[in-house]
Symmetry: C5
Subunit: 364 residues, 5 copies
């Protein structure tokens, strides 16, 4: 089971780009999990008194988005249809490189500012308890003056609570698109904590196992989680910089008020990064502990072996001597030869026990 995961891990690091290599930049070739699923484009449009939610918006409507004062949130659940992305991109005036990054689903988290909009890539992470590994999905966010475009690899997301707040007409309805973008980022980072909790529970259980019943299997699990931490670290590390830049750079698309909120998400991101590092160091400490325990147990086994061997070898030798068939062995004929041999043997045992006790070996 662990082996098959090994396979998948390496593939997570470098997604096969065979079909892509050598292509001109801006060529939209999807890199990632293949799929044939339909890709609905959901549009939520709102201002302080109106709220519209269209499950699958039609293209003309999108063209009009740029000329409205309402805030629009376009959410696309799937990037495996390059032609759709291209159409969307053209309507919204996106740079070819942005469209390329959207369909190449192995990007690092990054932020790029283009003329008139901001492009943010994040990794959405979830811990799959089924096979104990972290799964990663690319989320692209485009923040324009009055719209947010979010693109995910698969249906199902962590934004339901944001939609609820929009529907409920709470504060978010009075804010601009930058606040919506913040709310989405916040939801993603908040979900990291859920994953960290699950991971923390696993690591705790593993530590209990390590102390109670360490086995080679425990070692395999420590190794497995260390590897997952490697991957996780690679995913969350660049997040730090993305959020730092979002909350610090002066960008006309983001109001000072929203920047305060982004500073808060930035704090959370640092918390996530540090927790991942701490988990990793915990796992390294557990590996050390495992190695030391193996050494300890070996020592114990060796002591038992040594005590038995050094006790019985002299005794067996003595018995062997008097099992020899020499014709002239005077002891054999002594009346008390046999009891005397027993006494010699007992004395030997006592001597050795005293010797071991002095060396502190009998505290098994």
């Amino acid at each position: 089971m662990l082996r098959s995961k090994g396979k998948r891990l390496a593939r997570k690091l470098v997604v096969k780009r065979g079909k892509k290599t050598g292509a001109a930049p801006g060529t939209l070739v999807h890199i990632g999990r293949e799929s044939d699923a339909a890709v609905p484009v959901r549009l939520i449009e709102y201002d302080d008194d109106e709220y519209t939610d269209i499950d699958d918006v039609d293209p003309e409507r999108i063209a009009r988005l740029r000329h409205t004062d309402k805030v629009s949130w376009l959410n696309v659940d799937g990037v495996h249809k390059p032609q759709l992305i291209e159409a969307l991109g053209k309507e919204l005036g996106l740079h070819p490189l942005v469209m390329e990054d959207i369909v190449n689903t192995d990007q690092r988290a990054k932020i790029e500012d283009y003329d008139g909009y901001l492009y943010v890539v994040l990794r959405m992470l979830r811990f799959s308890e089924e096979n104990n590994e972290i799964q990663s999905e690319q989320l692209s966010l485009v923040l324009g003056p009055h719209f947010v475009l979010s693109l995910q690899e698969e249906p199902g997301d962590v934004f339901e609570a944001v939609r609820d707040r929009l529907r409920a007409g709470r504060r978010i309805r009075f804010m601009q698109a930058d606040y919506l973008a913040y709310a989405l980022l916040d939801a993603v980072v908040d979900h990291y904590f859920v994953m960290l909790e699950q991971l923390g529970d696993q690591i705790e259980a593993l530590e209990d196992e390590l102390i109670a019943t360490p086995s080679p299997d425990t070692l395999g699990k420590i190794h497995h989680y260390k590897r997952e931490m490697l991957l996780l670290r690679k995913s969350v590390w660049p997040l730090r910089e993305v959020l730092s830049r979002l909350s610090r750079d002066e960008n006309p698309l983001i109001s000072p008020e929203t920047r305060l909120f982004l500073r808060d998400v930035y704090d959370h991101a640092i918390h996530v990064v540090e927790t991942v590092d701490t988990f990793r160091e915990l796992l390294v400490g557990m590996l050390d502990l495992y190695m030391s325990s193996v050494g300890n147990r070996m020592n114990e086994v060796m002591k038992v072996l040594t005590i038995f061997a050094t006790l019985f070898m002299p005794l067996t030798f003595i018995a062997g001597v008097y099992g020899m068939n020499f014709e002239y062995m005077p002891e054999l004929e002594w009346r008390y030869g046999y009891p005397m041999v027993w006494m010699v043997m007992i004395a030997t045992v006592i001597g050795l026990v005293v010797f071991f006790r002095r060396r502190g070996w009998l505290s098994l």
Copy 2:
């Protein structure tokens, strides 16, 4: 016992936020230890000639705080009642994010400056000798023009000496709110040294144990303290930056004179951070020493085993040969066969002892 602590450590790293995920920012949901205790709001108000101390101030009074020239110190012992925090926050004009951070008790130490006040989060740490672990409590400080608001998770604090000085009418009574904030920070950081002393004593005792009577239990303790250091480091590291910014940034709320004093607290904070690092490296060194000792002891055990086995195996073999029942074994009938065998055996032993001595193995 160590296992149950393991559990708690991981929980310290990521506090369960299940109920929080997806909530709008500024939603006050308490994250931390649940409690039903009443939350008294203690107000100390003073200037150079007056000093008032009210155990549980009533709300209207707080509203008036902002319009007085006296220095007010509001201390709240418990953040598990969000509605209280909300009421307080509104009276003092705090940003929703500040209120949120106050009730979420797993913050990293940080400093944020808002319009008209400074918000500082610190971790108060104490070493519990009972279960040998470090306990952490979140302290929020809000420094306004004439007031300091301090919020702790639980009653009982390290500020008694500050109150004594206030009551005694010493220099602190002639100073502004920034100096009071400094005095509180100084008390917190000073208390870190008490904790470090206790930890230092424990680590020393552990080192003595390691050298005198190392056992698998010692290994468990080294691992335990290494883990505590991980946690401690995560708590004190950001403190450095908080105090650096407090003592360096030009902020109208903090007078240059107070900044000098904050520089002093900053020096202490660096001292704390470095001591934690040194403790950690000491523990790593102890782990190495433990591992090497295990190797050494194994070597010793092996030498004893090898000496016994290599001495007695040839002897037992010789005895075995003359225990064979062949009809025609001339040696058995020799007059001096038996003594000769003994001499062969003794010669074998001498030869082996010489061999071992040359290899330097007999210096047990």
Copy 3:
């Protein structure tokens, strides 16, 4: 096989410069693989409506390059003929140090800007599945106002796709020389991913082997790949800075539009560097796992040995006792002596088995 590779690795790090030491700067002495192959200079010249491709251009033609508005791409497949490089360099007005760097094929990736042109050195890397090692070739790029000069060590490159796009008359034909340079850099970095994929596959296979059938040979392979990662890291690390400077510095030779594209290549370069680091950490983790497994297996072997030895030593001793030839051994004459000895033996075995079970050793 691994040994011969070892040799080559060290040579990759420091190319023999015996013949070079002490020479004046600007002396063109080729450092690298010797060769007698002819060195064709291929010229591709284009603008939006014309495209010329000359396999081996003659020298006068090069002189004219600087006075045309078309974009020219001069590609040289081999730097082992210093006089050719010198001639080219003079025609294009290159600094002696640039020419020297071109023929010394052990440069780190770097970028230098000279008056009127940019000089970039990169390493082209490919993974040779034949002997499982990474092979490295130096690529020098000179970007002038209307031309790009590319120099490789050997024929055969990763630029075929770029040539196809040029021939096909796509967007690249409407762009200037800076875009061509970008296209070449992009092709090189894109090819790194191909190499990383191959390496990733190898490391995965190695991990499978490590978990299924670890052997000393596995250890040798882990060591081998760790060494390759060392070399690889040294090659790709400076790439980061080169691309960072290309995409950030304001240089009149590079248009703002192209800078956007270079920023994209920079992201890829960071991805490469991080993946190399992750591979390395994976290998370190695998080494740890190997070491722990060796310890585990040793422990298991020791347990089997100890169980056998401690079971049979007492039994053999008992048998030995009743093999003694004393004349007066009453047990020997007892009617049920023999069965009683068997019962004693069986009791001993049962006692030891219980002892081992309590220590948890019988869960072989």
Copy 4:
């Protein structure tokens, strides 16, 4: 012996501050070694033609110091009398925090500039050959316009050579107080080299011991010196920054000429820091070597055991077979049974020796 040192090391890291915690800042409570010794205040006053040296100056004199053009050097040998420090501090106009830092003898090296004077804390270190540990003393320097105040914990210092030069009327007499401060710093840092030499000799001797006659005691010493390096590093690391700031910051108290000399001391400080790091890495390397040697020796012991056991076990078994008492064992009655058994045994030994030789085990 090593254990008692362990105790002291931890105390060096955190000096007990029980009596101090909670005190107001500026409260002078001495933290450090208690003492009742008298504290002489020695004054040396000089300019280019006059030189006065007063062993224990009386207080009024100090007040006049600030109004003279001569350079005054006040040296205090002991800080355990807070009232004396307070008196001195008031005469010279020192900030309460400076006085507090002077009497708290566990400061890190630091530099602070106050209005009109500079305050520098350094650690004076010496290697005590008696118990092989580094002893540390706090030196406070206050540099004013015409005076230097130096405060040490104990009598006896490294400044005798400076006094000689002052008495001898050499260049130092023509310079200002900043040059005197430099001369004192230089003397302290120069003395570090004496300590490093002694440490270097100890480490060399230890390395010789490690290679010639490694023993568990060697391991204890390596651990001991590694710990001392930890402490030493903590002491010298901040020195770097202190001297860097002294030699770089523009401060009216320090002339550009003196800054050149301070740059030189800064170079020495870097040399010290690097040497400490190198010593530490040497010790880590020695620990690795020790561990590997233990493994090597274990391997050797195991080989000897295995060779003996595998040679004699089959032989003993064969002898055992023909020691059986079956009535019908034809071999026993054969005429050449006994010699044949010997031949079988010899053949077995030869076979095993060949087997071992092939595995390369007989090169004991």
Copy 5:
């Protein structure tokens, strides 16, 4: 042999300064290898048409150097005569600290700019194949407006090629003193590559030995080279900064054209530093491999021992049983007792072999 080297290494790190401690700055006390050799001062003076070479120049001539337009190169082969250095220094107007640094031959590489001249210290390194260690010599360079002063510890240097070029009247004759200084630096750094090549060859040979015939001696060598790398790293690391500052800082003594050349030397220096780091990591990897191999071989030895012991112990026990002398042992009298025992034994062996095969232990 390795031990005597150990001694020398530590001495390299801290040169005995006993005689120096406490001396006034600018006191010229030679620290380094003592010698009585004469110290020739060689003067080479040139411009584009003249070239003079004087083996041992007389002092008055030096005074005139500062008033000529020709470029002068003064080379001093030995710094053990402080009075000579002092005389030279006075003629050329050097600061006392420069003269002090020249005679103290344990300086780190550094660059200092004084009024009117630059002072550069470098370490010249060579690998002595005789005792496999790196030897280090201090080179001081003073670059003035029309002269370069170079001071070495011993005769014999790497500058012969530079002299040849000067004699031959090549480009260097048309350049100023800054170019000469560059040429000397370039020669020194170029020589580092020769040393790295030799080291690389040694490390390769060591790796071959490690894979083919690892022995405790191999371990000693790995440790030795790791230590040499420590020293080497300490020598070359500061070189980086020296050359970085030389090639970047605007200094009127260095022309922009020469700065380009210095940038090239800087690239080489980085290459050197990285190669040293890579060598070190290679050695660390080799140490790991050695340790793992030791574990592997131990495992193998243990398996052989265990197989033999577990095979023969039951057999010997069975033989022992039927060697007992009970009067009533029915089996002994059975007609087929003896063959049956053999069959039991053979069955036991087969059972154990099957057991071992299942555990995968018989693939010796």
